[in-house]
């Protein structure tokens, strides 16, 4: 049985939605997704919540799905709360797919929202420093957090280890990713931080730690996103152009003590993508995909992903950005939406939002970010967890 995506509900990324609670944001995108699908809430059998584990710290709520279920008008229906760090959104979509493939539901709503900027640091009189402190709880609190005082260092370790092992990428190559993704975001009305930058702008931005500078980092944001998934028969009834989930793969690796052979690699993403490709029958992703959306938490991480996703060999990601292969007009665009560096990111709903952007691309409805769709297939690949130890990849296809 195939599972189709028949509705997309997205709202712009913002630094802070002071005028909305996380439940209100979830309601907004739920209504938008139902409207896009042309169905009502009574048509939904089941709800999958993609909500970050960090909601405990962000909004003082351990089980937000139970309160939000009522607020979005889905009381009485079954639901499950998926949480997996920054991979939450993609895993929620995978769970929605499983729910339908199992025959338990015909129509499933996958929804998430994230708000981290209600936190407040009285010492710095800022919200951002409190938020950055809170997200450190996603690390192993005994064996990692005490010796990693900066959030960027956790993923930065992988980038530095990749540089040590393969001699690449260079900081200039990383800067090119920042220029690309901020530039792509300029044409995305949902993006929080579209900017026309130069490599020098990035290189001269404030150094955060090691090779990581401010413009190498993704944003922290607030937002929400929702998708309507349906069984093959229902999807065809609901709309003329369902976007099919052709493959889904996930993997975990050791977190705070990576295996020596994995240093500088994101093997979890290699495994998740290859599992998703196998399910979808994809042998050469560079030739069979129109574009890729991937988890650019740092510029260097996007370059490492090029290899893990099968576009090149490990250590060659920098060469691809030098050659323009992954530019919006290149052979295989990566993050034409602007990615998390240009659009925004909050663990939980980010993956749902990015999959929504892929759906709109495959429908030919992506507006200014639209890339040519010739093969009818694309992926979103998420990475996250302590030291990039978890990944989930979703292959999507038009009919």
């Amino acid at each position: 049985m195939r599972v189709g995506i028949v509705g997309v509900g997205l709202i712009p990324w913002r630094t802070r939605y002071a005028n909305k609670t996380y439940s209100e944001l979830a309601l907004d995108v739920t209504k938008a997704a139902l409207r896009d699908a042309g169905i009502g809430r009574d048509d939904v059998d089941h709800v999958v919540w993609g909500l970050s584990d960090l909601m405990v710290a962000w909004v003082r709520q351990c089980c937000p799905s139970t309160t939000m279920q009522d607020y979005i008008g889905m009381a009485g229906k079954s639901s499950v709360h998926v949480t997996a760090g920054a991979v939450t959104g993609a895993m929620a979509v995978r769970q929605g797919m499983i729910e339908i493939m199992s025959g338990m539901s015909d129509v499933t709503l996958v929804v998430g929202s994230g708000k981290g900027m209600d936190l407040w640091d009285p010492d710095t009189q800022k919200r951002s420093s409190a938020f950055l402190k809170a997200i450190m709880l996603d690390l192993d609190t005994n064996w990692e957090m005490p010796v990693e005082p900066l959030a960027a260092a956790n993923f930065g370790f992988v980038v530095q280890a990749h540089m040590d092992r393969f001699g690449a990428p260079t900081e200039e190559q990383m800067a090119k990713v920042s220029v690309k993704n901020h530039g792509n975001a300029l044409t995305n009305p949902l993006a929080q931080s579209g900017m026309k930058l130069t490599v020098d702008d990035v290189m001269n931005s404030r150094r955060v730690a090691g090779p990581i500078k401010m413009f190498d980092c993704c944003l922290y944001s607030e937002g929400a996103a929702a998708l309507i998934l349906a069984s093959e028969d229902r999807a065809k009834e609901i709309c003329k152009n369902p976007i099919w989930i052709d493959g889904a793969g996930a993997a975990n690796e050791r977190s705070y003590m990576p295996e020596f052979s994995n240093l500088g690699r994101m093997v979890c993403q290699q495994k998740s993508s290859h599992r998703a490709y196998a399910m979808a029958g994809i042998r050469d992703p560079r030739k069979e995909l129109d574009f890729i959306e991937t988890h650019d938490l740092l510029t260097g991480v996007e370059l490492i992903s090029y290899a893990e996703l099968g576009l090149c060999d490990p250590g060659e990601g920098g060469r691809l950005i030098d050659e323009g292969v992954t530019e919006k007009t290149g052979e295989i665009p990566v993050n034409p939406s602007g990615g998390m560096i240009g659009c925004g990111h909050v663990a939980g709903c980010s993956g749902i939002s990015r999959i929504g952007e892929v759906v709109q691309q495959l429908r030919g409805q992506a507006g200014g970010t639209q890339v040519p769709i010739n093969k009818g297939r694309a992926i979103f690949s998420a990475i996250g967890g302590p030291a990039i130890s978890q990944s989930c990849t979703i292959v999507l296809g038009a009919e």
């Binding site: 002071a18 955060v208 990576p258």
Partner: protein
């Protein structure tokens, strides 16, 4: 609704912990005694550092094993500012992955290098702080 109409409350939640390290307590007892305590699996022989009482590879019992206080630097992220508890050393500090001699795992630690040279492959020795609460209370440095 205008921003002026929003109602914001200041809420303060404070949690204190007296955290048990459970079966991994021998590692921290070791730090307090100036020793690095790993564990060696009685089944497959894998050496876990930090120690685990049960081998995650084969589920057999792992016995405590003292390692020499030496390590090799694998990779590091140099920090813009030294953590407060290491500031008295007046030297550059990095969050680092190291391979402690004879361990089959790598470990995240602080590395302090007075010469600022954090090149991969540098040999390191452990130094222990007098008060132990977390793994931040020891570090590696040049011999």
């Amino acid at each position: 609704m205008s921003m002026n109409d929003l109602f914001e409350a200041e809420i303060i939640d404070t949690y204190h912990y007296r955290l048990s390290y459970g079966g991994q307590s021998p590692f921290f007892n070791g730090l307090a005694a100036g020793k690095l305590v790993a564990s060696k699996c009685t089944g497959c022989g894998f050496v876990w550092m930090p120690m685990r009482p049960i081998c995650s590879n084969c589920y057999e019992k792992a016995e405590p094993l003292m390692l020499a206080n030496r390590a090799e630097l694998l990779t590091s992220i140099v920090l813009p500012n030294a953590p407060a508890h290491l500031a008295h050393l007046d030297a550059p500090v990095a969050s680092a992955l190291v391979r402690i001699d004879d361990a089959d795992t790598c470990m995240k630690v602080f590395v302090v290098m007075p010469d600022g040279d954090f090149r991969k492959g540098r040999q390191l020795v452990a130094r222990f702080l007098p008060e132990v609460q977390t793994i931040a209370d020891f570090y590696f440095t040049a011999p």
